[in-house]
């Protein structure tokens, strides 16, 4: 099961268990009671899709946690869920936290659910794009290698081949001489099937026939 992972940060126990109960059926839920605890989870956990945080907590504020999360989990989407807000808090959420959604408490499960669905979708879309990008790069590298190999083969076959006029040996690029059959076998995809051509047949068979006749006349004589 590969369900999207959500991290919810809130200093109030009741809110955490409420969130857990509402969304545990659809998502893998991680909970943190403070910004510090959340940062530890971010450092440890891979593949967080969405980070949701309360704004007002003792210690680190929600905007601060979300701003820090941009370095630790740059691909995750960020949502602020908060009760009473000052304009400065919201500005910090935008300008430092780069939040995707801002939800006011008490949240209705419908509104929050839609925001989470959209955030997960956006995360997955970006993830897919990243995967496609690296797949494309890998495929291109593979093709490039294949083209290079083919070009080499073609060059081998298309280049001038020095051949001995008498014994029909081939000279390679290192000045060594090879039998024609060996050379073609090593440097091309050609596989040989052996047979006899008509003129060789006549020549070879003629010798055999003569030999046989000689043997027979000796036996008779």
């Amino acid at each position: 099961m590969n369900r999207p992972h959500l991290l919810y940060i809130d200093d109030e126990e009741i809110n955490r268990s409420n969130f857990q109960q509402t969304f545990a059926d659809e998502y893998e839920i991680l909970l943190a009671a403070s910004g510090e605890e959340a940062l530890e989870i971010m450092a440890r956990e891979e593949g967080l899709s969405v980070i949701l945080s309360d704004q007002r907590m003792p210690g680190m504020s929600g905007a601060e946690v979300l701003a820090r999360s941009r370095e630790l989990v740059p691909n995750a989407e960020r949502i602020m869920i908060t009760g009473y807000s000052e304009p400065e808090d919201i500005m910090a959420a935008i300008n430092q936290g780069q939040v995707y959604r801002y939800i006011l408490k008490p949240w209705s499960s419908g509104e929050l659910r839609i925001a989470i669905i959209q955030a997960v979708e956006r995360y997955q879309l970006k993830q897919e794009n990243r995967n496609l990008l690296s797949a494309l790069a890998a495929k291109n590298a593979e093709l490039e290698e294949l083209v290079r190999e083919r070009t080499m083969e073609l060059k081998k076959l298309q280049s001038l081949l020095p051949i001995c006029s008498y014994c029909r040996k081939i000279r390679d690029d290192k000045n060594a001489w090879h039998e024609l059959e060996d050379y073609l076998y090593k440097n091309t995809d050609i596989v040989f099937t052996h047979g006899i051509c008509p003129s060789c047949y006549d020549k070879e068979m003629a010798e055999h026939v003569t030999l046989l006749r000689q043997r027979k006349s000796k036996e008779k004589g």
Binding site: S85, P87, E88, I90, M91, A93, I94, N95, Q98, V99, Y100, R101, Y102, L104, L132, L133, L136, A137, K139, N140, L143, E144, L146, V147, R150, T151, L154
Partner: protein
């Protein structure tokens, strides 16, 4: 080639702000201006996609958030910013949830901060475009390579 870093559209109903904005940033960026949301949309249709649209929030007719929501729909790659004299809570929340803004600034703006953020926004846009181009180029290369491989096999 244009030496300036990117195309930026600034929308504000007060002309003095448009002049001010242009004066501050025209050395680094190619600046376009419009006095209303409607005019901004017409300008975008005429001039094409911008790297960044910065808008005032409170203007007669279309608000900045309405404009940027429309910009987001029409040009999803363009980065969006609000500069407003007001920090009303529901406007701020709408700037996030509807317009999905990159930054929200309060007037009067601090020149350094504005310049830095606009530079970052334009850089983010350019990176996105570069990735798009990389993908397109990669696709083309792949097609070419496949074609040349098929040619070799014949």
């Amino acid at each position: 080639m244009n030496q300036k870093k990117g195309r930026v559209l600034y929308v504000d109903d007060e002309e003095i702000n448009l002049i001010n904005f242009r004066e501050t940033l025209c050395d680094d960026f190619e600046i376009f201006t419009a006095v209303s949301g409607q005019e901004a949309l017409l300008l975008l249709e005429r001039e094409g996609e911008m790297a960044l649209v910065v808008s005032d929030q409170r203007m007669p007719g279309m608000t900045g958030i309405d404009l940027l929501t429309e910009v987001r729909r029409l040009y999803p790659d363009t980065i969006r910013m609000i500069i407003s004299a007001y920090t009303e809570i529901h406007e701020l929340i709408e700037a996030i949830n509807k317009a999905e803004v990159y930054r929200y600034f309060v007037k009067p703006w601090k020149e350094d901060q504005l310049r830095l953020s606009i530079g970052n926004a334009v850089g983010t846009y350019a990176l996105g475009q570069e990735i798009k181009m990389f993908v397109e180029q990669g696709r083309k290369q792949m097609t070419e390579r496949l074609r040349s491989l098929r040619g070799d096999n014949q």
